[in-house]
Symmetry: C2
Subunit: 343 residues, 2 copies
């Protein structure tokens, strides 16, 4: 019989309504056998990094009508993207010692029976990057910007939640293409980050703008060609009245709406007509086939220092509930990661 070890886990207590709280989750310890059942096709992972992402909020709700992913189950560990080391495998694609990224549990060790995992292709960058710039958020920024926004050199690009896991990359991609780039974020530190470290041309703190429309007119006197939408609600309404003819809105997320019982109404959609604007929602999972092309582009930029990536790392699984909840109050500065263990 294989070794049994203790396994700390983050459990969802109950379905959540409104803003999630730390107490909607709890940390417990169970036992796990570090062995995959024979013939099961599964892998046994030691989790190294876990990712906190906005799409996890809707998963805390029971009935996610029209969703593309299932809800969490109260009483079971939360799951999401992470980076892990394979301790045992009955799956032909993975072997003991492999470093992998993809869907795993919020616990120290996970037995994954239907792996949605990829081998870590480059180990000479920080492993945590596979929860961010080299993982789902990185691919989201890449597919959303290059495939959905149809960007052209010199265009005026606006990004909301711009210092987040996805936004900070979209802004840097747009700068590489020679666009004029403005971001909004929710604190002075984030605005400083955008302007001084991430190379945005302008940035503003939406919480300190009494009139979002006025802020956008100030930053975009000629209007917006591309809006990379991460927040929804009032910001989208303000953007709609500042779009240029032929503008594009890539709808990546609407984080401002996820904690509301009834989403806010958006009032200015007639501008889609007068300005001939295309507004398009997308999911990164439709673009998985572009991952090799993405790596080819991004790895040299990372190594050459042309693209930077800002992470906010919480230490230890115990800090995971607060880290996840913090996303929705905007506490994180950059991509929110949880460091669970070292290799």
């Amino acid at each position: 019989m294989a070794e049994m070890v203790s396994n700390k886990q983050v459990i969802l207590k109950n379905y959540v309504s409104g803003f999630p709280k730390e107490t909607d989750m709890y940390v417990t310890t169970s036992l796990i056998e570090l062995k995959v059942p024979k013939g099961s096709n599964g892998v046994l992972l030691k989790n190294l990094y876990l990712s906190c992402d906005p799409y996890m909020r809707p998963r805390m709700t029971k009935d996610m009508e029209g969703s593309y992913i299932e809800s969490f189950e109260p009483g079971l560990p939360i799951n999401g993207n992470g980076v892990a080391k394979v301790l045992d495998s009955e799956n032909p694609e993975f072997k003991k010692g492999d470093l992998v990224w993809g869907m795993t549990g919020w616990e120290e060790y996970s037995l994954i029976t239907a792996p949605y995992l990829f081998k870590v292709p480059h180990a000479d960058v920080p492993l945590s990057y596979y929860t961010g710039i080299l993982g789902m958020p990185g691919m989201t920024a890449y597919a959303g910007f290059y495939e959905v926004c149809s960007p052209k050199q010199g265009e005026c690009v606006f990004i909301s939640a711009a210092s987040g896991a996805v936004g900070q990359l979209v802004g840097q991609f747009a700068k590489l293409l020679g666009c004029y780039v403005v971001g909004s974020a929710g604190s002075k530190d984030k605005v400083d980050l955008l302007k001084n470290r991430l190379g945005f041309d302008e940035a503003f703190n939406y919480k300190e703008e009494p009139d979002l429309n006025a802020a956008l007119i100030r930053c975009f006197p000629e209007g917006i060609d591309i809006y990379f939408e991460n927040v929804g609600g009032k910001m989208l309404d303000a953007v709609l009245i500042n779009m240029k003819v032929g503008g594009r809105i890539a709808v990546c997320g609407m984080i401002s709406q996820y904690n509301l019982d009834e989403p806010e109404g958006v009032h200015n959609l007639t501008r889609l007509i007068s300005k001939r604007v295309r507004m398009e929602g997308f999911l990164v999972s439709d673009y998985n086939h572009l991952y090799p092309k993405f790596l080819e582009m991004i790895i040299p930029h990372i190594k050459g220092g042309k693209i930077v990536y800002v992470e906010d790392t919480a230490e230890g699984l115990e800090s995971a509930p607060a880290a996840l909840v913090g996303l929705f109050s905007g506490r994180n500065l950059g991509k929110q990661v949880v460091a669970v263990a070292s290799e």
Copy 2:
């Protein structure tokens, strides 16, 4: 000196807020010389048919922020699309006796100094068609459906304001392509028209549906691939929760919003993400270059009886204010035309 004749005119009294009323306009009579000033590049038209179109409502408002077309001027005749005969011309493109369609005044005779007019290419169809199926609404349906919706055979297509000038054609185009087609309209007569004369697979009266979502689920158990949007507001919200993955929404108009001081909020835009929906506004004027191709397609269908066009004709310029106002209460059955004079 040329003949002076009396010229009945429909004048906008004042800018309008809320629902327009007949009394927002008045009919008066002035005198006009049936002669174009030498060297003016103008044409003198005898108006035959005038078109009542939803986009005319925003033009009755003073400040149309973000609009693509100017407001009407109180005290002057309303203008819009029409069919006319050239009585005199100083413009090299038009000569006396030509039949033309395009922008003209709501009056018996119009002196047009900067013509936005086209020669009537086929005179062997009803001339009123150049306000509808062969004019701006026809081209709107053609460009909106074929160019914006990216339709495929067998797809499920929903059209709001489906018996109107544009909607009735979109539905017939979709049927020609082998789509499943459902329309909504605001009366039993309109629903009968859609099902019995225009070949729609299904139709419903939105005013008699207590729950628009339920009506859409009933008509589209598998969901909607293409929504041709003419109304906005609550209908759009109901459609959003019934879109299929990869669906498209062509935003042609939002007539339900034009008489409101503050447009209704649309709450279900997060569905754009989970269903990867593209929502795109368009203006027919961007597609003028396709008019010859459109005629090539539509004329044989009209002559062969494959496409029918339902008009609602008001007789005489005096009836024009009521006809225009009636658009916004849905009084018209089919394309609303005003017959001003015969050739």
